[in-house]
């Protein structure tokens, strides 16, 4: 039983990776070489022709990165396996993204074609940015939106051409020193998006970014800042893949969201990195009065993911939400969670996390809810449910809830369970195979969360999960 199970899980893992498991020969005009020093930082600044304040910002961040210890006092020791000297921090063909797919180099175009990005853009997206290693190869937004004043450009263009909007918020939601990896990102950031939605504009179709790693021993450090001005609405989606190299790859992004009064931002992630990627990401949003920020997050790939999207509710009646699905298979550790910081009266937050551990996979929920002194009417609801599929699967839950004062309500609930024998038996009685029954049960477990994803994504999600479940009944 065990042997056939392991074999099938491996086969499935292979098939799953196969979606993005291809690469093209490297041909980089700009290459910062291996390792990280002051020269690396200066090289990146020079290639990108950055203003002095950005270069200064990078150098300060590098110092912070070097001075901070690895957070292994609470996090997994697997972090110690990252060799910062064996990583390449900047690889690109030039910093200027193309506005038309026709101008994109053929192998890059083929990459994104195989991943279905241009097709999806035609079908249902309002704008797309496609990043290939360090820089965006393509970036475009529908004309009608540009006419309304929507800005969707790379982060580099944002800081140069829209400094007056960009700079006041850049690094304000997530300061450089927030953690070791936010400092690393601040030192070597490249790529990512800058989005500005003018007051009252409601972007009907989602904007999408696609992140692709093509080169071995490469670290991707994109930086994203989204500002939704008063009363505006936007949905942003990101996807990512990498080929499966022999060596470990690092992805360490920083994403900052700012929702002004009454604005609404939804940020959707489907993370399907290959299982050699360390995915260490810092994501946080700042919600002003009556604003709403939702993180909708799905983690299927990577070797180790550490990601705790957060919302700082700074204005009265602001709302924060994290919807999270994690699937950990053999050799994977999905360490995900949420951070809800209540900083104004009558703010509400909701966290719903569901994880599935298959084979020897390990999933972890880590959460923080903070309600400081002298506030009233704050509410938090946290639910985390874990499903264990095989005998060797593992799950952990580590929430921390701090409440001051008696004007609030918080509740936290977590449960761990397995798919019951009775349920599987019942379904098999009705003619389903064991695998189909297991897939159905798992899809049922996360169904209400999958519905939160845009339709095109939820179909893809279900398919990926079916693939992961194939034959993994233990």
């Amino acid at each position: 039983m065990m042997n056939s199970e392991t074999a099938t899980v491996k086969k499935v893992a292979f098939e799953k990776d196969d979606v993005g498991n291809f690469s093209f020969p490297e041909s980089h005009k700009f290459d910062a070489g291996y390792g990280l020093t002051k020269d690396t930082v200066d090289y990146i600044s020079k290639v990108k022709d950055e203003p002095a304040w950005v270069n200064e910002f990078r150098h300060k961040a590098l110092k912070t990165f070097e001075s901070k210890p690895m957070p292994t006092n609470w996090a997994t020791r697997d972090l110690e396996n990252i060799d910062f000297d064996a990583i390449r921090y900047y690889l690109s063909d030039g910093a200027q993204p193309k506005r038309s797919w026709d101008e994109v180099p053929p192998e890059v175009l083929e990459t994104f074609d195989r991943l279905g990005v241009p097709e999806q853009e035609r079908a249902f997206l309002a704008g797309v940015e496609a990043q290939y290693d360090s820089e965006a190869a393509y970036s475009n937004v529908k004309e009608a939106l540009a006419d309304e004043g929507v800005i969707f450009v790379t982060c580099a263009e944002g800081l140069k051409e829209h400094e007056e909007i960009f700079r006041p918020w850049f690094g304000k939601v997530i300061p450089t020193g927030d953690n070791k990896f936010s400092a690393l990102n601040s030192a070597v950031m490249s790529g990512g998006s800058f989005i500005y939605i003018p007051p009252g504009v409601k972007v009907k179709h989602p904007l999408q970014a696609y992140f692709r790693i093509n080169s071995e021993n490469f670290g991707q450090f994109e930086r994203t800042l989204i500002i939704a001005d008063e009363g505006s609405e936007v949905m942003y989606m990101e996807g990512c893949t990498a080929p499966k190299f022999e060596t470990a790859t690092l992805h360490s992004a920083v994403v900052e969201l700012v929702a002004m009064k009454g604005a609404k931002i939804q940020y959707v992630t489907v993370q399907n990195w290959s299982s050699n990627v360390f995915n260490l990401v810092t994501k946080r949003g700042l919600a002003h009065e009556d604003a709403e920020i939702r993180w909708i997050d799905c983690n299927i790939g990577s070797r180790l993911t550490m990601k705790y999207p957060g919302v700082v509710m700074k204005g009265d009646r602001a709302r924060g939400e994290v919807i999270s699905i994690a699937l950990a298979n053999d050799g994977q550790h999905q360490d995900t969670g949420a951070k809800m910081i209540h900083a104004a009266n009558n703010t509400t937050s909701n966290v719903i996390s569901k994880s599935i551990s298959v084979g020897e996979g390990r999933s972890t929920y880590r959460g923080q809810v903070h309600i400081p002194k002298h506030l009233k009417g704050c509410k938090n609801n946290t639910e985390c449910d874990a499903l264990l599929i095989s005998t060797n699967s593992r799950t952990d839950t580590y929430p921390a809830i701090s409440v001051k004062g008696n004007q609030h309500v918080t509740q936290h609930e977590a449960s761990v369970s397995q798919v019951s024998e009775e349920m599987l038996f019942y379904m098999q009685q009705r003619g389903l195979s064991e695998t189909q029954a297991m897939s159905l049960a798992v899809n049922g477990f996360i169904n209400d969360l999958v519905e939160e994803f845009p339709m095109e994504y939820s179909v893809e999600l279900k398919r990926l999960i079916d693939l992961e479940m194939e034959g993994s009944v233990g």
């Binding site: 002194k373 264990l388 799950t395 309500v409």
Partner: protein, 380 residues
């Protein structure tokens, strides 16, 4: 020529460091309070007014480290500490106990035994009592342990209890902590349960300015059941920091933890709990609940309920809530002629009693309710 002999326990104590801010086991905790360097152990103490004896219980009375009255067939004083181990952050304090505690009270029985221990604490300095409770197969042991200050001195009590249940035995233990507001308490409560045994370990904290409590329960025999209960009522100037670990090391084991904190004034509570299920410990049933009742706008509660599960055929859950007495409940009672103040007190006392009732032992429940009521009389 002089030769100084250093015991291995003392050596270990000197080797270890006091807790520091970055210590994950001390998250949200007052690690500075835990630094006891320079403190000397207390000398002989005096006895206080004895509470009404519990019917059918043997009673032993201690004044600081000395046994001043009473005896029991099931208990004897043994020289030195039994050597508690700490796995939840206070290993320096455990080593301190191992190195410097004068004697251990060893309670052992193969039949029924009811025992009441009164610890009168007086004077400034360290007091390091230790108790081992061992239930042999088929035994039923009940222990009440009370810490009572008889003056206002700043005492520091570092106390350790080790509970061991053999097959088919049962231990019910209630600890009440009624120290003065200048004192500190660091308490280790360990338990190991063999097959088909049952341990109910309850604690009520109303006194002391700072409490750190580390409860480690190992359920190592199948069909064993570990219940851990706590009721605390901190007020301004009091901080209770409780860390728990429910360790499931065998198939078909059961554990249930219920902590109820009622916070007054500017009180602070910290709860950190972990359910840990070993690989292969299938059929585990484990629950963990921490509820904070916030009575004022200035109190503060931190909860870290955790799970680490390494087996798939398990039922585990935890829940944690923080809220105040609901307006509907107050309204309901007021409509029946009870003042708002009394209504709040009534609901809050009911909240504590819910945990006490789990003791399922009338005498112990009555005592616990009395201790809770005494605190309510002061705070409200």
């Amino acid at each position: 020529m002089s030769v100084t002999f250093v015991s291995p326990a003392l050596e270990k104590f000197e080797e270890l460091d006091w807790p520091v801010r970055t210590d994950e086991n001390w998250r949200f905790g007052s690690w500075k309070e835990a630094n006891l360097s320079g403190l000397e152990t207390v000398g002989t103490g005096t006895s206080g007014d004895l509470p009404e004896p519990l019917k059918g219980f043997d009673r032993l009375v201690f004044a600081n480290r000395d046994l001043v009255s009473g005896s029991s067939d099931g208990a004897e004083l043994v020289e030195g500490s039994f050597g508690p181990t700490s796995r939840l952050g206070s290993s320096k304090h455990a080593a301190l106990h191992a190195a410097k505690s004068k004697h251990t009270l060893h309670i052992r029985s193969g039949t029924d035994l009811s025992l009441e221990l009164i610890y009168f604490v007086s004077g400034e300095g360290l007091f390091l009592p230790g108790v081992v409770i061992e239930a042999e197969a088929g035994a039923n042991i009940r222990v009440v342990k009370r810490f009572i200050s008889i003056d206002d001195s700043a005492a520091v009590v570092v106390t350790a209890t080790d509970v061991r249940t053999a097959e088919n035995s049962k231990i019910t233990c209630l600890v009440t902590q009624e120290l003065n507001r200048n004192s500190k308490l660091i308490r280790f409560s360990d338990s190991t349960l063999e097959a088909s045994s049952n341990a109910k370990l309850a604690v009520v904290h109303t006194g002391a300015k700072w409490v750190r409590e580390e409860t480690y329960s190992t359920v190592s025999g199948s069909d064993a059941k570990s219940e851990i209960l706590s009721v605390t009522l901190p007020d301004t100037g009091q901080e209770y920091d409780q860390r728990t670990f429910q360790h499931h090391g065998a198939r078909n084991t059961f554990s249930d933890l219920l902590f109820k904190n009622t916070l007054f004034g500017k009180a602070t509570t910290i709860f950190s709990g972990l359910i840990f299920v070993d690989e292969g410990a299938h059929g585990t049933d484990a629950y963990q609940t921490c509820r904070n009742l916030m009575m004022t706008d200035e109190c503060e509660a931190h909860s870290m309920p955790g799970l680490e599960i390494n087996a798939d055929d398990v039922k585990c859950s935890h829940g944690s809530t923080s809220s105040r007495v609901s307006d509907e409940e107050i309204f309901y009672l007021m409509a029946r002629g009870i003042t708002a103040k009394d209504a709040r007190s009534l609901v809050a006392q009911g909240f504590s009693i819910e945990a006490i009732e789990r003791l399922e032992d009338e005498q112990l429940e009555t005592l616990a309710v009395e201790v809770v009521a005494r605190k309510f009389a002061i705070v409200e």
